[in-house]
């Protein structure tokens, strides 16, 4: 199953390899990207295909050595647009080529509308990062991951 991407994957620094998890680009300028021009949004499936995640970040892309903020909405993959309630979100990141992760723990706050605000995501080196968004729903934990290349 494939999910339509809101837009601007490139602006968020998403490498082509990340799109292979079932995400395809859509026409730019839709959805949240229009409502908040300083942000760019992407959508992708969790690795097991259970959830669809809409993630918006800075439109200019990720910047090395700067604390980053993301907004995350988790929806049922089988019912796009339907929010998943009663979940927790864990956020982490790793540099596979370096075998190390991040040095600061991101803050994750659940909002009243069920979406999540992620702050202090600090990617301190240029290169290939994998960002992990783990959705915890009752007995299930399913990972969504997202490749970014920082220059």
């Amino acid at each position: 199953m494939q999910v339509r991407v809101a837009s601007l994957a490139a602006a968020l620094g998403i490498a082509a390899a990340a799109l292979s998890i079932g995400v395809t680009p859509a026409a730019p300028g839709s959805g949240a990207a229009q409502a908040a021009p300083a942000r760019a949004e992407v959508r992708f499936l969790s690795n097991g295909g259970r959830y669809s995640l809409a993630v918006s970040g800075p439109a200019g892309g990720f910047e090395t050595g700067k604390a980053l903020a993301l907004d995350v909405r988790v929806e049922h993959a089988a019912a796009p647009g339907v929010r998943v309630d009663g979940i927790a979100l864990l956020v982490d990141a790793d540099m596979p080529e370096h075998l190390h992760g991040i040095n600061r723990a991101p803050r994750v706050e659940r909002r009243a509308d069920g979406s999540f605000r992620v702050e202090n995501l600090f990617l301190h080196m240029p290169g290939w990062w994998e960002i992990f968004l783990d959705v915890v729903e009752g007995p299930w934990t399913e990972r969504a991951q997202w490749r970014v290349e920082l220059d």
């Binding site: 090395t64 050595g65 604390a67 540099m95 080529e97 370096h98 075998l99 190390h100 992760g101 991040i102 040095n103 600061r104 723990a105 991101p106 803050r107 202090n120 301190h124 080196m125 240029p126 290169g127 220059d151």
Partner: protein, 424 residues
């Protein structure tokens, strides 16, 4: 090839330079290549505007991420960080040997203005055996974490730790408070800086000592060293001033492109300080050989989060600031074992020896280590594995050295290089 970045001249060596940026190999002029073919000694490639004009936009963007240096971010945890009166008091304290138990050592004993505010020693020995090399204080206000293991999150907290440590200065907070309170000149300068009286009474000595340390930090924050040849090159590139950019030596430019390209040095040495400000293990063997014994960042985080003089502590002037709260978010795991802070490369040619224990005496020896990784020790199961022998040629190492020398900046103003004169 990447689109040009609006430079005013077009170079005929664009393809050659694009390859250089990608693989870091040395550039050879056509004339040089012909000379080599004919058996004559190859002339050193000369600076040329064409060399600069051939830089593609992506390379220019990478260059500009490293300079010019600019001012440091303000430290909200020190309300007098930008105060001239506090800096004046701090400067006097910095050069005062009464800060040491022996009465013979000051901050300037390990951070000599004549040695780019380092000491030129492998390990300093003011009061006993120190375990780590003295880094330069030039541009230190740009550092997010202080000490090789980052166990201080501000300049004032770092200064206090040295004054507390019996292996370093060692007079402690009571001694510092006593000195500032009982010396009439210090007392007057303290009053001017803090609009308060110093006191060495037990209930006030911490406050007085912290203020004094914040004054030292205000002085150290002025030890800015910029305007290097690289900074001038970067500024010229930013302004698309090709003629000025072409004044950058061509061997330094080749070294820079190798640094940004095949050498991938910018993986850690990135940003205006040529440091990511974070912590890594490069497998450098410890002094005396054997396995690493310095826990580095693993212990540094523990010490920092327990330090009452951290940014979120009661002595901070902005404990709720975003900057201060970064301490609470630090992740501590076994992968931090042995990691030390990425040193800035600014003024690196003036601050030998190198590495956290001064293991490498020269720039060349550092480059040779990266070239071969000879003697490298494993960083541990979760350690970084990104390093691989870079196999630099001798010419490439020459170019890298030339580039590193181009990071030598201008010294701070002369009036900052010694204790202020005492008023008559």
């Amino acid at each position: 090839m990447a689109r040009r970045a609006g430079l005013t001249r077009r170079g005929s060596l664009a393809a050659l330079l694009a390859g250089l940026a990608a693989c870091g190999g040395p550039a050879r002029t056509p004339a040089g290549a012909q000379a080599e073919a004919s058996g004559e000694p190859a002339p050193r490639p000369r600076p040329s505007a064409e060399l600069v004009a051939a830089l593609d936009e992506a390379t220019i963007r990478r260059v500009l991420r490293h300079g010019p240096l600019g001012p440091p971010e303000p430290d909200p945890t020190n309300r007098v960080a930008a105060s001239p009166a506090a800096a004046h008091l701090g400067q006097r304290l910095f050069y005062d040997p009464r800060l040491s138990l022996s009465g013979m050592h000051s901050c300037a004993s390990c951070h000599l203005p004549t040695r780019a505010f380092a000491d030129g020693l492998e390990l300093p020995v003011p009061q006993g055996s120190s375990e780590r090399h003295s880094p330069t204080l030039l541009n230190v206000a740009h550092q997010r974490w202080l000490f090789w293991d980052g166990r201080a999150d501000s300049l004032w907290s770092q200064a206090l730790a040295v004054i507390e440590n019996p292996k370093e200065l060692g007079i402690g907070r009571p001694g510092l408070a006593r000195l500032v309170t009982r010396d009439p000149l210090y007392r007057a300068e303290y009053r001017a800086a803090f609009d308060a009286e110093p006191s060495d009474a037990p209930e006030f000595e911490d406050r007085t000592a912290v203020h004094a340390a914040k004054a030292i930090a205000a002085y150290e924050a002025r030890l800015q060293s910029d305007d290097s040849a690289f900074d001038r090159f970067a500024a010229a590139l930013a302004a698309r001033d090709l003629d000025t950019a072409a004044e950058y030596p061509d061997d330094a430019l080749r070294g820079l492109l190798l640094f940004l390209g095949r050498g991938n040095c910018r993986s850690c040495h990135v940003g205006p300080l040529f440091s990511d400000g974070e912590f890594h293990s490069i497998g450098m063997p410890p002094r005396g050989g054997g396995r690493p014994t310095d826990p580095g960042r693993l212990r540094g985080i523990e010490l920092l989060q327990a330090n009452p003089f951290r940014g979120t502590g009661p002595w901070s002037d902005a404990p709720d600031s975003e900057r201060a709260r970064e301490v609470e978010a630090l992740v501590r795991s076994s992968e931090h074992w042995g990691q030390v802070r990425t040193p800035s490369l600014r003024n690196v040619a003036r601050t030998a020896p190198y590495m956290s224990q001064g293991q490498k005496p020269t720039l060349r020896s550092v480059l040779e280590f990266y070239s071969t990784l000879e003697g490298a020790v494993a960083a541990g199961h979760h350690g970084e594995t990104v390093l691989a022998p870079l196999r630099f040629s001798a010419a490439e190492m020459d170019d890298l050295e030339a580039f590193l020398r181009s990071l030598d900046g201008r010294d701070p103003p002369e009036e900052l290089l010694w204790a202020p004169p005492k008023p008559r």
